[in-house]
């Protein structure tokens, strides 16, 4: 159960906690990034919900679900539709990286504390974090993106490349057969379904818990929806980034507005729905996998 103080930290609007009235909020994600996450998880849920019945086509729920939505024809239609949406989102992301990192030569995209690229500190953080788990040291101080967040990012990044490529290879098999050997057409299904399964199991168990369901953020980290987090939360979760901003005197530049209550409630409904769908699919997947 979340304690009330935590709700204040996560939501931070109702001002019920001690000293929460004057709470400052700092921007973590831009609107574009939040919309990207929204598109990403909706299309991913769609892909998972339509991909799993194909992967486990012999299970009782696959057939029931398929017939409920209009059979395989409907399933593959939605699967391809979501795939197209996700592909477009991925291309937009690549274009953004390209523009920011290469055209505008923005610093810190490909390296540094604000980059998604893993560095030596992430390895040290991982080891230090795990030492902390078992009581062998202090909790590491994390920067803007912690190692598990970077892992999430790259898992999704490579996952989209691999699953996307193998998916399109099946969709346009005769075309891909012009430059792929015949056995590759067999391989793409194995790769597609195994990598897809990994993505589904990972997102619906590890990502959900790491990011949303663990005690610090339970039941949901709202920052991906509101874009802002309270000062206390910022300090606690990413002390290194916070200290750096303070030291450089840039903290004020990150000040954001407290999120509106209606938006938090709306985001909660969306977020919990997504988590609920995800957990349902996780249970169905595990039941099919082990039966």
């Amino acid at each position: 159960m979340p304690d009330p103080e935590q709700t204040v930290l996560a939501g931070g609007t109702n001002g019920a906690g001690k000293g929460a009235v004057q709470e400052r909020f700092f921007t973590r994600f831009t609107a574009a990034q939040r919309y990207m996450h929204g598109v990403l998880f909706s299309s991913f849920l769609g892909l998972a919900a339509t991909g799993l019945p194909m992967r486990f086509s012999q299970s009782f729920w696959a057939r029931k679900f398929a017939s409920a939505v209009g059979g395989f024809g409907a399933i593959i239609f939605f699967h391809k539709l979501c795939a197209l949406v996700l592909t477009v989102a991925f291309l937009i992301h690549l274009k953004n990286i390209f523009t920011r990192g290469i055209v505008n030569r923005e610093k810190g995209i490909f390296w540094g504390p604000n980059s998604m690229v893993a560095n030596w500190k992430d390895v040290k953080d991982l080891i230090g974090h795990m030492r902390w788990f078992v009581g062998l040291g202090k909790r590491p101080t994390f920067g803007r993106y912690a190692y598990w967040e970077k892992f999430d990012y790259w898992a999704v990044f490579w996952g989209m490349l691999i699953i996307g490529f193998s998916g399109y290879a099946m969709w346009f098999a005769p075309f891909f057969a012009r430059f792929l050997p015949g056995w590759a057409l067999n391989a793409v299904l194995v790769v597609h379904s195994e990598e897809g399964l990994l993505a589904i199991l990972f997102i619906f168990s590890i990502h959900f818990v790491n990011t949303h369901l663990r005690p610090d953020t339970f039941p949901m980290d709202m920052v991906i929806f509101t874009g802002v987090e309270s000062e206390a939360e910022f300090k606690h979760k990413r002390p290194e980034e916070f200290d750096k901003l303070v030291k450089e005197g840039k903290l004020e530049s990150r000040l954001g507005l407290a999120p509106a209550t209606w938006w938090i409630n709306f985001a909660r409904v969306i977020g919990f729905t997504a988590i609920l769908i995800g957990l349902t699919l996780l249970v169905l997947t595990l039941s099919a996998y082990f039966s």
Binding site: D3, E5, Q6, L9, G17, K18, P53, M54, R55, S57, Q58, A62, R63, A66, S67, G70, G71, F72, G73, A74, I76, H129, M130, F133, V134, G135, W148, A155, M170, A173, P174, F175, A177, R178, P181, G182, W183, L185, N186, A187, L189, V190, V191, E194, E195, L197, L198, L201, F202, S205, I206, V209, N210, R214, P215, D216, A232, E233, K235, H236
Partner: protein
């Protein structure tokens, strides 16, 4: 005329008065039996509708042509059934030894109906008119009681919903197979009898009476040759299509249930097929276009891949796959529709890719499950600690 009839009446009255009368005309019998309510001692109706009788195929006959035991009036109650074989010798001979030979009911009338109103089988009112045959047989073979008593399936509902049943009941096709088309009429033998038209080996010929072209194809294929060579494990028509619940093979219902039928013998091929996209799509219903066994192998003239006429012969693959996959080329048809990712020798590339993917999946998940569980425990401990010292703020 008046005189003649008076004489006749007088004679009749004389004869009637003189001695037990000899019944000679049907009208004599109908004088009593024409009464619709007439019953024998045990309460069975013994009435005959004279008009119907006259209109029946037996109309020209005299009552005592069949009821031979009755020669005079009044007559004792008749206990022995009428012997139809007096005239219908061939049919009666056929019945001997058939499954219906020892029926308790009258062997003829239970199918043909009341002999007093019987009409030719070409008459739509006949119980054995082709369109009426299933209903007639279904009187017994459509009931659970019959099914239990003789261990026979209640086949009438299966038949009537089949393609044959539809052709007969909905389209009114006289050529549609009804019960007797396959089973015969009088000399019906159990399907376990080698002489039966429905004995396994004889089934292709029985179906081939109508489906001659299919039968010719079948005889050329591996299944037909195997059955002809006495290998009874190979399927005949009814093994794949069913005997009674025959579906239109191009329609969704049959397409979706056809692969497990082949798979009941070709287990390994079925299991590898199930791992492929073709099967995964096909199992979900509503999408029946995906390749089933017979889309690639053929249905009746199934030939081994080594045969140049076979659709799965190397030389024909581009054409066969191209039926669905427009633009299929030589490289495309290298795809293995029965690839086994678990078989290192047969499909090494697939085996190692599958192995790699599985290792990746297992190692990533194992690492993160342990990582995240430990994290959960540690964070909860810290949270509780902090709560007790700082009043429950997790910051």
């Amino acid at each position: 005329m008046k005189f003649a009839s008076t004489i006749a009446l007088a004679l009749g009255a004389l004869l009637y008065a003189a001695a037990p009368a000899v019944a000679q005309g049907n009208s004599d019998c109908l004088a009593c039996h024409g009464d619709a309510g007439m019953q024998d001692a045990s309460g069975h109706s013994v009435s005959v509708d004279g008009h119907k009788f006259d209109a029946s195929i037996h109309g020209p006959l005299q009552c005592n042509n069949c009821h031979t035991a009755i020669k005079e009036y009044p007559h004792p109650e008749q206990k022995t059934p009428v012997k139809c074989e007096t005239c219908h010798a061939d049919e009666a001979a056929g019945l001997v030894g058939s499954v219906h030979a020892d029926g308790k009911d009258h062997p003829c009338t239970s199918c043909h109906g009341d002999a007093h109103s019987i009409v030719p089988k070409s008459d739509p009112k006949s119980a054995v008119y082709p369109l009426n045959v299933p209903r007639t047989c279904g009187q017994c073979h459509g009931t659970e009681g019959m099914a239990k008593k003789h261990g026979l399936a209640s086949v009438y509902p299966l038949y009537i919903d089949s393609i044959h049943g539809f052709a007969l009941s909905k389209e009114g096709l006289l050529v549609a197979a009804n019960c007797q088309t396959c089973h015969g009429s009088h000399h019906i033998l159990s399907h376990t009898d080698p002489k039966s038209a429905t004995y396994k080996v004889n089934v292709p010929e029985t179906c081939g009476k109508c489906h001659a072209g299919i039968n010719a194809d079948y005889q050329q294929g591996v299944h037909g040759k195997a059955v002809a060579a006495g290998k009874l494990g190979a399927p005949v028509c009814s093994d794949c299509h069913n005997a009674h619940a025959i579906l239109q093979p191009t329609e969704a219902e049959f397409r979706t249930q056809s692969t497990p039928i082949c798979g009941s013998c070709h287990k390994e091929k079925f299991s590898t097929y199930r791992d492929t996209f073709h099967s995964q799509l096909g199992s979900l219903g509503g999408y029946v276009e995906t390749a089933r066994c017979w889309d690639c192998h053929g249905a009746h003239e199934i030939l081994p891949a080594s045969d140049p006429r076979s659709p799965i012969n190397k030389a024909n693959l581009v054409k066969t796959c191209g039926r669905c996959h427009t633009g299929a080329n030589e490289s495309f048809v290298q795809y293995q529709p029965h690839a086994n990712a678990h078989n290192r020798k047969l499909n090494p590339a697939l085996y190692y890719i599958g192995l790699f993917m599985n290792l990746l999946l297992v190692s990533v998940l194992t690492f993160f499950v342990i990582h995240t569980l430990l994290w959960l425990i540690r964070q909860r401990i810290e949270q509780v600690k902090r709560k007790s010292t700082e009043g429950g703020n997790n910051a």
